[in-house]
């Protein structure tokens, strides 16, 4: 029997358009609203109920994650994005492994959230990992890892298509948020 919800947390998925944010969410969460809401309002909310281990007691803790899927389109006014970011407790920053500019823009997205909500637990998702073989032509040696490491946040190769690491990024973020609430140390990227 899953534990009852002890926490409700707000997290935002950010990143450039078409990196696969909505697909990652759809793979994982309760989705009741049409995706047209995202393009109309600039955001749509979904919900995931998960259980993570309580860092103090080791018991499972129920967490309801309310996930704001933020439209990556540049036409969404910055002031509206800031309104959506208000009160966010964790961030998943998503990029496309095949599109270098989407990686380069990650820092801006994350900083945009931090400018409203302060430094937060953050996970970077390098999505479309099922196409990694094609991506090898883009990166030299360990270039992808180096680029991601420079962001200062844990990063995972993910694939909404195969499900690779999808569960991991949401659970890891929830654990980090919980640890932060329990005043444990969580490595936060520079604000």
């Amino acid at each position: 029997m899953p534990p009852s919800t002890a926490y409700k947390i707000k997290v935002c998925l950010v990143g450039e358009a078409a990196v696969g944010k909505t697909s990652l969410i759809r793979r994982f969460v309760l989705d009741q609203f049409d995706d047209r809401y995202t393009s109309t309002l600039g955001a749509k909310t979904t919900k995931a109920e998960i259980a993570v281990e309580d860092p103090e007691t080791g018991e499972p803790v129920g967490i309801a994650m309310l996930i704001w899927d933020i439209m990556g389109d540049r036409h969404v006014p910055e002031s509206l994005l800031q309104a959506y970011f208000r009160g966010t407790q964790g961030v998943i920053a998503v990029c496309d492994v095949l599109r270098l500019p989407t990686i380069e823009r990650l820092r801006d997205w994350v900083q945009s959230v931090y400018s409203v909500a302060g430094a937060l637990p953050t996970i970077c998702a390098v999505n479309k990992a099922d196409l990694l073989r094609e991506a090898e032509a883009i990166y030299e040696g360990n270039d992808l890892n180096a680029r991601m490491a420079s962001l200062g946040a844990p990063h995972f190769l993910t694939s909404a298509k195969t499900g690779e690491n999808v569960r991991t990024i949401f659970h890891r973020l929830a654990e980090d948020v919980l640890r932060r609430h329990r005043s444990e140390s969580v490595t936060l990227p520079d604000a």
Binding site: T5, Q32, S39, L41, D73, A83, V177
Partner: protein
């Protein structure tokens, strides 16, 4: 606002902007009247606010001693229905006046005082009940040849009973029209803190609705606010209204039908109570639901009742899981507890969110 091809905006009605300021007065052409003579009542109303009133009604209840002759409300756009209700729509900022003429009927003892009741009701520009004024005009009927001593007063007494009953039923119906469907207390970040539902079906998730309501609010504020950030105060869809009462770190959103005249003020009371008792917690809230459980105990304030005693609430909830859902009492569905439903009998079931 349209950010991509092929998508449509939603039709929202916005509260929180300019409001009308309505005033009403009545004067009579004479204070005394012989049988067969007429009295002209002049009704004046004005809107001195910057916003228009969606609708204004003037209901005139003539006493049995006076009979309706004519009116000129149509000259200023008034539509008469029944005996005698006048409706005016889209009342902008200006002054209006119309007249109603009535004549004294015979066979009443001299000195009889006839009381005509004028009820003025106006809405704000979104159709929400806003202003109510009641005036009573007294006219003394002078009836030569008849004296008060030979009048069978018991007849007047008997006649008054159905009138009193009608007045009572009018007020009862007006009050019973209020139906609270959903109550959401939402943190300013969009997380649902407390919820009570009468109509939400199990396939609708209250957390998601609360979060989307926050998203829609942010969108509308961004789309329509000017330099000053103004809170959205409500939405209207079909026969339902969503009344939104913002607090410092939370807001209360209530889906309801109808109004009993004091509902908005009770929603304000609830919001202030939440602010007083949970304001400090909400200012730096971590998401721990245990810290905000007590908010739900305050919701009975919406029905004009005292908040639940927290110890009783704890006992009642012992062993129950996350979300609570009010089960409508089929015998009282459509009525708020204040007007028929019994809050003490409200049943709650556990619901996994």
């Amino acid at each position: 606002m349209n950010w991509s091809n092929g998508t449509q905006d939603f039709a929202f009605r916005i509260y929180g902007f300019h409001q009308p300021i309505l005033a009403f007065s009545v004067s009579a052409s004479t204070l005394t009247l012989d049988a067969g003579q007429s009295v002209v009542f002049t009704m004046n109303f004005s809107n001195t606010g910057l916003g228009s009133a969606n609708s204004v009604w003037v209901n005139v209840s003539l006493p049995p001693q006076l009979s309706y002759v004519s009116d000129d409300a149509i000259l200023i756009g008034g539509i008469r229905s029944g005996a005698y209700s006048f409706k005016f729509t889209n009342v902008g900022s200006r002054f209006w006046s119309f007249r109603l003429t009535a004549s004294a009927v015979g066979a009443v003892p001299t000195g009889t005082v006839a009381e005509t009741v004028f009820v003025f009701e106006g809405t704000d520009h979104n159709g929400r009940s806003f202003t109510r004024v009641v005036h009573v005009a007294s006219t003394t009927i002078l009836n030569p040849g008849s004296t008060s001593s030979d009048f069978p007063w018991w007849i007047l007494g008997v006649a008054a009973i159905p009138i009193a009953a009608m007045v009572f039923l009018f007020w009862r119906r007006r009050s019973a029209n209020l139906s609270v469907e959903e109550v959401f207390v939402i943190h300013q970040n969009g997380i649902l803190l407390a919820h009570q539902s009468k109509t939400l079906t199990p396939d609708k998730d209250a957390d998601l609705l609360a979060a989307m309501l926050k998203t829609v609010q942010d969108f509308i504020q961004e789309a329509f606010s000017t330099r000053e950030r103004m809170p959205m105060r409500g939405l209207q869809f079909g026969e339902f209204s969503v009344l939104i009462e913002p607090g410092r770190n939370h807001y209360v959103a209530v889906v309801h039908r109808g109004d009993d005249g004091s509902f908005a003020s009770r929603v304000g009371d609830l919001s202030r109570m939440i602010e007083d008792r949970f304001g400090t917690t909400l200012a730096s809230w971590s998401g721990d639901m245990r810290e905000v459980r007590g908010i739900r105990d305050l919701l009975p304030v919406l029905w004009g009742q005292e908040p639940e005693a927290s110890s009783e609430a704890r006992d009642r909830r012992k062993g129950r899981a996350r979300h609570w859902r009010q089960v409508p009492d089929s015998a009282t569905e459509g009525e708020s507890p204040e007007h028929g439903a019994r809050v003490g009998e409200t049943r709650f079931t556990d619901e996994e969110g």
